[in-house]
Symmetry: C2
């Protein structure tokens, strides 16, 4: 099992790379190849667009690579997502792709293109409190499709998708928007004010294409900054309200979020 | 000339209301009626949705009112915009509407519904440094369509629209999205990181409907928080890049922004 790590968004911390390499070595069930591009830096990004895109396309085209694991989020994968999903090499079709947060732009573009993507922990998550569990969960899924890694509410036969809410709001209506039809749509967010969560849900649930989803399930909305004045509602109430307004079913909670407990959500259960 | 002030987003500061009342009285060219709803408060908002909507619909239906001026922005007009633009009273069709920032949700919904809207200063702007000029500019436009109030680059015969970029990104694809076809689209933003400006422009210029606009002109992007790490680009470069990528013409700069210099942009020049 060969897993390639690339950084389509921000630069991977060397300490995180080393720690996860050691975990993979100690487990002995996967060869982890961390692409040197992960440590490139150009302003906000892990190298310029052209370098991040080239590294991603390189591992997508590599027949020896079984899975592609995004190093970390941050911001920037949207800048290369449309190009990354164009003229796909055959080698990309047999791989699985794993990431979340800003990586959601690639999950969307690749799902739209028919590739096997999943929302779940990334390499940089080793630096979180309890991060070892997140890394093992990700590797357990990448290496052997361990059902224990999966978000526990996923239906055996249904389609599911998971996104950071702000990322989802930023891709709706673009060329990388995936097909939400009949999918359970799991959303999480981090470090956004309640008024921004409310605004993003207004936008997302106001999209005709998102309204084709089967239901919205609410992941963790964490590190919400204090609102001045007090917003007057909480995240759960906000999610329920926009579901009710838009006619989308509220499907309950989801065990995903910007934390070490983040479970894996494969977009196409056939690849899980 | 009777101008009604309502607050579809956040609560108006009493000091701002009093100062602008005094300016209107000293000018003597307009009767300014500040609706009591402007001072209501419910969490983040100037009263609950139902109260903000009722006040707005009340003045829209009032034959004695010539213009409706939004008190201030903040957040919340999106929550009532679709309802506010539904089953329009005839009385609303002869009025002009003025506001910006979060008020952009109403500008969009009302423009879509055929009403005469303009992007420009609001009552609360009196509290800005040099705010008196903003208030006079707004009143000069509301009362006598003073051409000196207008954004100087507006083409005599062309359609123009102006929005806060983040608000625009949050309404694209929803039921209140206006028709951008052949319009010059002026955008400004405030207090958003460069990565967020970049992400909003990715989203907005990635919309097929926005791509029907004639050009994008760049208003002021102010109070940009420091990016960590340094983003590596500036707002102008970002706007130019997304215009180039999307095939939308970059039309230069626009004299609009979250400041006292903010000029008026009527969406339909026929009403200017």
């Amino acid at each position: 099992m060969k897993i390639a790590v690339v950084a389509p968004s921000c630069t991977l911390t060397p300490a995180a790379a080393q720690a996860v390499q050691e975990i993979a070595a100690s487990r002995g069930d996967a060869e982890l190849v961390i692409h040197p591009q992960c440590f490139a830096s150009s302003g906000h990004f892990a190298g310029p667009d052209v370098q991040r895109l080239a590294a991603l396309r390189e591992v997508m085209s590599d027949d020896s690579v079984d899975a592609i694991w995004f190093a970390r989020g941050g911001y920037g994968s949207n800048r290369i997502a449309e190009a990354a999903a164009r003229d796909l090499p055959d080698a990309a079709r047999s791989k699985r792709f794993l990431g979340y947060s800003d990586g959601g732009f690639l999950l969307a573009a690749f799902d739209r293109a028919g590739l096997g993507v999943a929302h779940g922990p990334m390499v940089q998550d080793i630096l979180r409190s309890g991060g070892r569990a997140a890394i093992d969960r990700a590797l357990d899924w990448l290496v052997r499709s361990d059902p224990a890694s999966l978000e526990p509410g996923l239906k055996p036969d249904g389609r599911a998708m998971a996104f950071n809410l702000t990322v989802l709001s930023s891709l709706v209506g673009t060329a990388i928007e995936p097909d939400f039809t009949d999918a359970e749509l799991l959303v999480e967010d981090v470090a956004e004010h309640e008024y921004r969560i409310d605004r993003s849900l207004f936008h997302v649930t106001g999209s005709a294409s998102v309204r084709r989803c089967a239901a919205i399930r609410m992941g963790r909305m964490s590190e919400i900054p204090e609102n001045d004045p007090i917003f007057g509602s909480d995240a759960e109430t906000i999610v329920r309200e926009w579901c009710a307004r838009s006619g989308i079913a509220f499907g309950g909670f989801a065990d995903i979020g910007h934390d070490a407990a983040n479970r894996v959500v494969p977009f196409r259960r056939a690849t899980a």
